[in-house]
């Protein structure tokens, strides 16, 4: 693999655009992300119900939340959701993306179809699926298919798999698009060489396409993992953390504590944990994949 891109970046340090170009973005970031973040850290050491003036609580909130079985359970559920999301979405979107990268006409039509879920907002997707999955008045009873009339969102054993499915439905198109773009950029010469060497379809895919898509795999996996750690809207619309606490992942735990029980201190603790874990995980993924070296996987690109 060439290291020319890395060298280019080095040169860019001296001749690139002024750092002031980042000022508007950084201002936004400071006002809407850093300042609230500091506020949340401060709140995590206070008791506040949203009405009174906040009072200082020391480390009480932290001790309380870190031993609260509901939050501990939420951590486990977050982990389960993250793993399940990655396991379902990564192979599906990789295969779909590479499939869509082909230039055949019918594949373009498929691409358009696959792309559709990306156009809908999470809340709309949630409400629509909630209606479709309704065991009494949903799709199953409309079509007379009784096996569809399960208590999808109301049974603690079914609700999480159902959510994983709907989340995959909404996000696989986006990740497929990433893979499609990346696969289209792969140099044809490598594939021609492989063909001449007699590599079959499966071998070409496993030994050439997948390794060359490494950077895209890292990007897409980071988005999937960090995204599902902090995922909120669809789950809130579909189950609001229920039944019981069966889908109460960390972001929902934070929200329900803050805006249903008005325990802003406790909610802030969960919020801080989320930020630390989210930043930590994405940094670790970046490091582990060697992405910081900015190596190109595209020969000659």
């Amino acid at each position: 693999m060439s290291t020319r891109r890395g060298a280019g970046a080095q040169a860019g340090l001296r001749t690139g655009p002024s750092i002031w170009l980042a000022a508007p973005a950084m201002t936004f970031f400071a006002v809407f992300a850093l300042v609230p973040l500091v506020g949340v850290v401060a709140l995590s050491f206070m008791n506040w119900d949203g009405l009174d003036a906040p009072t200082f609580a020391g480390a009480d909130n932290w001790a309380r939340i870190l031993t609260d079985p509901v939050t501990l359970d939420a951590m486990k559920l977050s982990l389960v959701l993250t793993v399940a999301t990655w396991v379902t979405q990564f192979p599906t979107s990789l295969l779909l993306g590479v499939f869509m990268a082909g230039s055949q006409r019918y594949r373009e039509w498929f691409s358009i179809l696959y792309f559709l879920p990306l156009l809908f907002s999470s809340a709309a997707v949630g409400i629509a699926f909630k209606a479709l999955l309704d065991p009494n008045f949903g799709l199953g009873s409309a079509l007379g298919l009784d096996f569809l009339n399960k208590d999808w969102l109301g049974d603690p054993n079914l609700s999480m798999p159902t959510l994983v499915f709907v989340i995959a439905w909404s996000f696989v198109p986006f990740h497929s698009l990433l893979y499609q773009g990346a696969a289209r950029q792969l140099p044809a010469s490598v594939f021609e060489a492989a063909m001449i060497d007699g590599a079959g379809r499966v071998n070409t895919f496993l030994h050439i396409t997948v390794p060359m898509l490494r950077s895209t795999i890292v990007t897409s996996s980071t988005l999937m993992i960090v995204g599902s750690l902090t995922y909120f809207d669809l789950i809130f619309v579909m189950t609001a953390g229920g039944p019981g606490n069966a889908t109460r992942i960390l972001p929902l735990d934070m929200y329900l504590r803050g805006f249903r029980a008005y325990d802003m201190g406790g909610a802030s603790v969960v919020g801080v944990i989320l930020v630390v874990v989210g930043v930590g995980v994405s940094y670790a993924l970046n490091r582990a994949s060697g992405n910081t070296k900015m190596e190109s996987t595209l020969e000659g690109a």
Binding site: G12, F29, F32, T239, Y262
Partner: protein
């Protein structure tokens, strides 16, 4: 993080901007966020709930006020139940509350009053106050001062039933005892009804009605009064454990079917189950009678909708005439509104609330206004059967227990709902439930 190159730095900055922008546009804002603050001059704002029986009455009344007061217009927004409860607290806490705050009184009102968020209305509503039923008006008082006035109807929780299905299953009358209830469930199941009792399990608060009534029938209203007044070991009262046991007995008998976890009350799915003949019974507030009238007028007109008191439990000490529910909904006046807006709002409350049109609209949509002078009108209305029933139910009740999730303050109320849903799912035993509730501070 150390940026190895400018490219990396820019990438982070750009994604940060995206995050920041998303953060701005995100968040649950069901309606115009500036709605509360945008009333000018002597005009004022009001937020209330969609659906139910009172939306029509509110809207008609606001229109009437606006026609009569062109310089002091009221601007109203209507929200779904769950969304409203979350939005209003933040709005009140941040000083962006509407002038008229809709509430259920109880724990929330105590919080508002304690923090000076609502105006003391004592003595300011000379022409309205004497007309309101005393027990309901008292719910709007905190420490003897009037902070909220009722704005609609008494809402006892009623056992509705589908007379057609009862006839088909061979059940002669609405169950009056626990044994009869179990028997009715068995007969309905035998007649092929998959969901003998409709229950909006996903909304959770309808589950609370079962606990409220069962506790009352078993141990009387004092069991929960001890909890609400913060007495030590109040949850240790045996009535709570027994009530949870009865609940699990019903779940085991398949009384709620196997799909109640997906049923949502906000969309009226539990009501629909009953009038579409998929469920035999429904324990819900009197406010859903309005939903029946709108969604299934023929069903109601044909007299297929039955209603009854909650059955008694053998060996229980509670009076079978005791009821639970919401004495009414309430208006409070926000202390953060301008003095002009407050004055207009108070004038509105004093002159327009429960006037002729208001009372007529409430009754026509199937609600019993909480005024002393409503009885004659109720008797003359098209819906006299249900309204008369609800009116006398309230009048004759020795105790009218405010819904527990409203009587308690926010944190214990949430813990109560989550733990109770675990009881219905059989993820918690009755003993664990009581233990978990006793541990909540």
């Amino acid at each position: 993080m150390i940026f190895n190159s400018r490219r990396g730095f820019l990438a982070v900055a750009a994604s940060a901007a995206v995050v920041a922008l998303t953060a701005c546009s995100g968040g649950a804002q069901p309606s115009g966020p500036g709605g509360a603050a945008s009333a000018t001059g002597a005009g004022f704002t009001a937020w209330a709930l969609t659906g139910g029986t009172s939306e029509k009455a509110f809207k008609a009344s606001f229109e009437e006020w606006n026609t009569a007061n062109p310089t002091a217009q009221v601007k109203s927004d209507f929200f779904a139940n769950d969304a409203y409860k979350e939005k209003i607290r933040t709005a009140v806490g941040s000083g962006n509350a509407p002038t008229l705050i809709y509430s259920w009184a109880g724990g929330t009102l105590q919080d508002y009053a304690k923090n000076g968020k609502v105006v003391d209305l004592t003595g300011k509503l000379g022409s309205l106050e004497p007309r309101i039923v005393t027990s309901v008006l008292d719910t709007g008082k905190v420490d003897g001062k009037l902070y909220a006035v009722p704005n609609n109807n008494a809402q006892p929780v009623v056992m509705y039933y589908n007379k057609d299905l009862f006839a088909k299953a061979g059940i002669a009358a609405a169950p009056t005892t626990w044994a009869e209830l179990l028997d009715a469930v068995a007969k309905l199941k035998a007649a092929g009804v998959q969901t003998p009792i409709a229950l909006a399990g996903q909304s959770v608060w309808p589950e609370l009605m079962w606990l409220e009534y069962l506790t009352d029938r078993i141990g009387g209203p004092d069991a929960f009064k001890a909890v609400a007044t913060g007495q030590a070991d109040a949850w240790k009262n045996a009535a709570f454990v027994q009530a949870c046991q009865k609940i699990q007995e019903l779940v085991d008998a398949g009384a709620f079917g196997d799909k109640y976890g997906s049923v949502v009350a906000d969309s009226g799915a539990d009501v629909a189950l009953l009038h579409t003949g998929k469920a035999g019974m429904l324990l819900q507030g009197a406010w859903v009678f309005g939903t029946f009238l709108t969604d299934a007028p023929d069903f109601v007109k044909a007299g297929k909708l039955g209603f009854a008191n909650f059955p008694t439990v053998d060996g229980g000490t509670g009076d079978p005439k005791n009821i639970v529910g919401n004495p009414a909904n309430f208006w409070s006046v926000s202390a953060s509104a301008s003095p002009e807006a407050q004055a207009s709002a108070i004038k509105y409350l004093d002159t327009m609330l429960f006037n002729e049109t208001y009372t007529d609209t409430l009754i026509a949509s199937g609600a019993v206004p909480v005024t002393n002078d409503a009885e004659a009108k109720v008797k003359a209305s098209d819906q006299a059967a249900f309204l008369g029933y609800a009116y006398s139910m309230v009048k004759d009740a020795p105790s009218f227990q405010l819904s527990w999730d409203q009587a308690l303050t926010a944190a214990p109320a949430q813990a109560l709902l989550t733990n109770l849903s675990q009881v219905f799912l059989k993820k918690q035993t009755p003993e664990q439930f009581v233990e978990a509730m006793a541990a909540v501070k």
